[in-house]
Amino acid sequence: MTLSAALILPWATGVLLVALDGRRRAVGLLAVVMLLATLVLLAVLMAGVLADGSRDVVTGRWPEGVGIVLRADTLGVAFALLSVLVLLAATAHEVIAGVRDRTFPGLVLLLAGGLTGLFLTGDMFNFYVFFELAMTASYALSTYGGGRRQLRAALIFTAVNLLGSFIFLLSVAGTYRTTGTLAMQDVADRMVTVDPNAALLVATGFFIAFSVKLGLFPFHFWLPTVYAGSAPAVAAILSGAVANIGAYGLLRFGAGIFPVELRLAAVTLIVLGAASLLYGAVLAVARGDVGETLAYSAIGQVGYVLVAIGVGGPVGLAAAVLYSVVNSLNKTLLFLATGVRGALVAGAFAIGALSVAGVPPAPGFVGKLEMFRAGIAADSPALVVLLVVGSALSVVYMFQVYQHRFWRPDPDAAVAPSPLPLRALTVTLALLILATGLWPEPLLALSNSAVDTLLAGRPG
């Protein structure tokens, strides 16, 4: 019941709000309230899932095995909670700052509906439908602001990601042909009997589709233009919420459905992750612009997630879950803070910067710690060295940005500081992130439990 409500609420209100003028404060506030309600529903669902295990709902009262399965497990609900939290922060930010586009609140709600749906479905084709719902909303969102750079960014974002979506669809067709089913659980059970070549081909298709979403090297080419060109709130949404599709997809499809292929490709994944990590970090140091540095940093940070997935096993996967959660929160805070001026903002930005660099007590430290554990579990000194180099480079570029932005006389010092509520929101988000770093136990337990449910469904 909570599951269906959490899906229907953002979708239905989103359809309604798209028709209204989002520039009116009341409409924006309604969107914030609805996102908050969705967040509460998901939190209730999470409490239920943690207490009594995963929950399956067969849609349309079809018998089991015929209807589409909606499935709420720890991994899915955790990602849904995270994404809705990011959307809530970005929308609240934009509503306080003044929405400039009439469709913004409605589109964010539709995006929330699509994201919640894809994290809570147990069917591959249904995943594609929700995926397209979320992506279509984000294509429209990326034009937000309406400037020339936004428009160019939106065009690139849409074209590249549409291509990724169709590659995903080709792989869905391949899955159906080889296994005769689309329910994720059945696919995972039957995948072991499929011809290894066909299975590897299908798995590669899924990998490419999710890597494009995540912006992994060498599929990153669209990302810097888009993140740097979008409005701060939209960049926060794209990097904090939409990119979660990629991380979740790699975990769910890679570790949950194609474990054999994942093991086979482990070295390739680690090499790609390492390349992504170094490439993102080095270019982030080299760029001067705040938006672009953060964008390249995003490419580098997802490299960590891929390395962790490549290492695999309970330790590696738990590190991947934890790192994606922390990274998504960091990026949201940093992108939102770039749009705010005035006292206290520098402090909020510094918390985000410390978190990206992995300095305690910020949660990035816990993420890095888990990554080191994964590196040691893989018994690879080279990997540990790589992680240290990546962290060192992230200290350099984050503080380069910090110094550039907050330590020198601002050429446009005449710009009035942002309204107090906006600064308060940024600081609240920073404090929330700091709190997860100071008390990381729930987050650790959550990622371990998510990985347990992921591995429990695995055949053999």
Binding site: V129, E132, R148, R149, T158, A159, F166, A173, R177
Partner: protein, 128 residues
């Protein structure tokens, strides 16, 4: 039959990929449309059985697999919506930039790069 479908999907994908590399934005959109059709054809080709339509089936008669048809219909509708959105975006770009060539769009980015380079130079002078 499977071979014909595979060939059709491959040709569609190939033509689409070729068009994607063109400079004209309208051709890029056409390329994405062809690739979306290639995905639909592949879905049809992934049917597990062939025969008559899966409605009012006589016992013993071969039935065509209805699931890929439902998937293809859904994929077509989604493809239509996203391509329409993309075309609207291209229309907007043409209105704003007065061009549908990718190179001319990149000119704006070159200006941004030049600004960044100037900023870095100013930084160096400040520290050096």
């Amino acid at each position: 039959m499977i071979f014909a479908i595979a060939l059709a999907a491959a040709v569609l994908f190939g033509c689409g990929a070729y068009l994607l590399l063109k400079r004209d934005l309208v051709r890029v959109v056409a390329g994405i449309m062809l690739i979306s059709q290639s995905a639909t054809v592949t879905i049809m080709g992934s049917s597990l059985s062939r025969g008559s339509a899966a409605i009012d089936v006589q016992p013993g008669e071969a039935v065509s697999d209805p699931l890929p048809q439902a998937l293809a219909l859904t994929a077509l509708v989604i493809g239509l919506a996203t391509v329409a959105l993309l075309l609207a975006l291209v229309h907007r770009v043409v209105l704003v930039f007065r061009t549908a060539e990718r190179d001319e769009l990149a000119a704006g980015e070159a200006e941004h790069e030049a600004d960044l380079a100037a900023e870095r130079l100013a930084d160096q002078e400040e520290t050096g």
